[in-house]
């Protein structure tokens, strides 16, 4: 393997990719395993990277695929094979141990992330990319292989779904200390 490629990718993207994976899986061990898998796929495919998309969106698309494969394998295994898994319609729920960083979050943030887990996979993915990673509509579309219109619609639905779910929570978990 080409160490220089690894060093450059690590410096530029490692923490971003890790954050993406840990927010999707909510499990540090899984995020570490999946980030390893991302490197394996990226390093093996690097020579063939055609530059049709930016390196950043290419990396995120690989990370996204690795994460979906992880959720799909879990779903398939739990159902003893052969059940269909459609990531866009399924919930991408990880049942692992919450990282320490999540345990010390405000209650409202914990609620929000919990409700995000209850959203459909496509909504969760768009929220993570657009809000946690600040990817543009175009970049998100590129990562997901969607049209920009689909990203916008999914984002809109995701916010509405989160709003509805948050408003359905008991008030104690409600909106204190929201910084504007």
């Amino acid at each position: 393997m080409d160490d220089s490629v690894f060093h450059r990718l690590y410096e530029q993207y490692h923490q971003d990719v890790f954050k993406f994976l840990i927010y999707l899986t909510r499990n540090r061990d899984h995020a570490e395993d999946l980030s390893h898998e991302v490197y394996v796929r990226v390093l093996r495919a690097y020579a063939g990277f055609e530059g049709k998309s930016s390196e950043k969106t290419w990396l995120f698309s690989i990370a996204k695929n690795v994460a979906i494969d992880h959720f799909r394998k879990n779903a398939v295994r739990k159902k003893h094979l052969y059940d269909k898994f459609d990531w866009e319609k399924s919930e991408l729920v990880s049942t692992g141990i919450l990282p320490d960083e999540m345990a010390v979050m405000s209650e409202e943030m914990k609620d929000l992330l919990k409700q995000l887990d209850q959203c459909t996979g496509d909504q969760k993915m768009v929220i993570v990319m657009r809000y946690f990673h600040d990817l543009s509509i175009a970049e998100t579309a590129d990562v997901l292989g969607w049209t920009e219109g689909k990203v916008k619609t999914t984002q809109h639905r995701a916010i509405k779904a989160l709003q509805k779910k948050m408003n359905a929570l008991p008030k104690e978990g409600g909106k204190l200390n929201v910084r504007q």
């Binding site: 393997m1 160490d3 690894f6 060093h7 690590y10 490692h14 923490q15 890790f18 954050k19 927010y23 995020a31 570490e32 395993d33 980030s35 390893h36 490197y39 394996v40 796929r41 390093l43 093996r44 495919a45 695929n65 494969d69 992880h70 799909r72 394998k73 879990n74 398939v76 295994r77 739990k78 003893h80 094979l81 052969y82 269909k84 898994f85 990282p99 960083e101 999540m102 979050m105 943030m109 929000l112 992330l113 929220i127 809000y131 946690f132 916010i159 509405k160 989160l162 709003q163 948050m166 408003n167 359905a168 929570l169 008991p170 008030k171 409600g174 909106k175 929201v178 910084r179 504007q180």
Partner: protein, 415 residues
């Protein structure tokens, strides 16, 4: 009812405040783990020691290798006679440059597997199956016409993505008679006889077989008796490779049970409950097929991990899209189709008429093989409509095409 009153803006503001979560591992730790990953390492050619190999097997393996490798890598031709024909043509007719060139590669390959087998030199993976040779592959499925006095041996071998790749070996019946006498071997018998001797690394796969534990037969069920530390449940990839290879190997059985030595069901770590018998499907997996390319350039048709479909039509339509970064679509851009079913026959109609002579032949063969394998996985026969040619590459488009017997024919290379 709740009294909360979150609006869009407040939700968005909160989402933007999600804190960063860092990976606490050091860069060197991450790099060290990558260095350990065999998928990023060059293939080390194993030193082959003569060991105990029955003469008949050794001769058969060498014969198969020298005769079949050209055919496997290059053409959708029948097994023995066509391969012999090709080699002969290549050597004798210099006007047929492509054949001559291919035969030269074939001879190189034979040397690579025999004389050079004693070397322990590290070879670049590309040297085993060069891009060029991979590029000449024009068959991805085995059809009834390919079985000439041979016995089919299905097996799932583990590729460098860690997933099972369904492979089809055709063993000459003379070899079967030598090894089994008059008995007609089941998939279990074939596995027990050959699996431990398949040169997986030599064929470009990970060393995976034979299975750990003990395999036995009880009626139409198989039992895999496993002991502590069997390792089939250490991670999602190992679980999937285990299940996938079993499914791709044991045709003709109803199910496989996983038992401890005391007969109780094994509890796999990744599942967390006593295992249930796994239904074996003998190829009726409701899969669709995609292109999988190994690091050394070998190309195979493979299901998308273990993804199966309820709907045959959806399975076919999904094939138009690349499902992830491991597998690629076999349907070229610009090719679109509809599918209808009539009395068990699937009719795939291309939306625009396809002129196969104007397309890349390998791409087209891959597409047809992938579609036919998908139909076969649903137990269906398929006919194509809106193709300019009525006959092409041995396919008669005026009638339903034969149902493939299995994907990815390879020569049975034994250690």
């Amino acid at each position: 009812m709740s009294d909360n009153n979150w609006d869009d803006q407040q939700i968005e503001n909160l989402l933007k405040q999600v804190p960063d979560i860092q990976d606490h591992r050091s860069k060197s730790e991450i790099l060290a783990r990558l260095k350990q990953d065999e998928r990023l390492q060059k293939v080390k050619k194993k030193k082959r020691t003569p060991g105990w190999i029955p003469t008949s097997v050794a001769v058969a393996a060498l014969l198969l290798l020298s005769l079949l490798l050209p055919s496997m890598l290059r053409g959708n031709e029948s097994v023995m006679d066509k391969a012999m024909e090709s080699s002969k043509d290549g050597l004798e007719n210099k006007a047929e440059m492509r054949m001559e060139e291919a035969a030269t590669h074939d001879r190189d390959d034979s040397a690579g597997f025999s004389e050079e087998a004693e070397d322990t030199a590290e070879l670049d993976e590309g040297q085993l199956f060069s891009e060029k040779q991979a590029g000449e592959t024009t068959s991805f499925a085995v059809y009834p016409k390919d079985i000439v006095d041979g016995t089919v041996f299905h097996i799932g071998l583990v590729g460098d993505a860690g997933a099972s790749i369904p492979i089809t070996f055709i063993i000459p019946n003379s070899q079967i008679e030598a090894d089994f006498g008059d008995m007609e071997p089941t998939s279990f018998d074939l596995y027990m006889e050959y699996a431990s001797r398949i040169d997986e690394a030599g064929l470009g796969f990970r060393e995976y077989h034979p299975y750990r534990g003990k395999l036995s037969v009880e009626g139409d069920a198989l039992i895999q008796t496993l002991t502590e530390g069997h390792g089939y449940d250490t991670g999602s990839a190992t679980v999937e490779a285990h299940e996938g290879t079993l499914q791709d190997t044991f045709y003709g059985f109803r199910e496989i049970r996983f038992e401890n030595e005391d007969g109780t069901p094994v509890e796999f770590d990744q599942v967390g409950e006593p295992s249930k018998p796994m239904q074996l499907t003998s190829g009726l997996n409701f899969y669709n097929y995609y292109l999988f390319t190994q690091a050394n350039g070998q190309e195979f048709l493979s299901p998308n991990f273990l993804k199966s479909y309820d709907s045959f039509e959806t399975a076919l339509l999904d094939m138009k899209e690349k499902p992830n970064d491991v597998y690629s679509s076999v349907i070229p851009n610009g090719v679109d189709f509809d599918v209808i079913e009539e009395k068990g026959l699937a009719i795939l109609k291309f939306k625009k008429e396809i002129d196969l002579e104007a397309m890349d032949s390998k791409t087209m063969i891959r597409m047809f093989d992938g579609l036919l394998l998908t139909a076969a996985s649903f137990g269906k026969q398929m006919q194509f409509e809106n193709v300019v040619q009525s006959e092409w590459n041995g396919m008669d488009f005026t009638r339903p095409l034969p149902v493939p017997i299995g994907p990815n024919q390879m020569p049975l290379l034994l250690k």
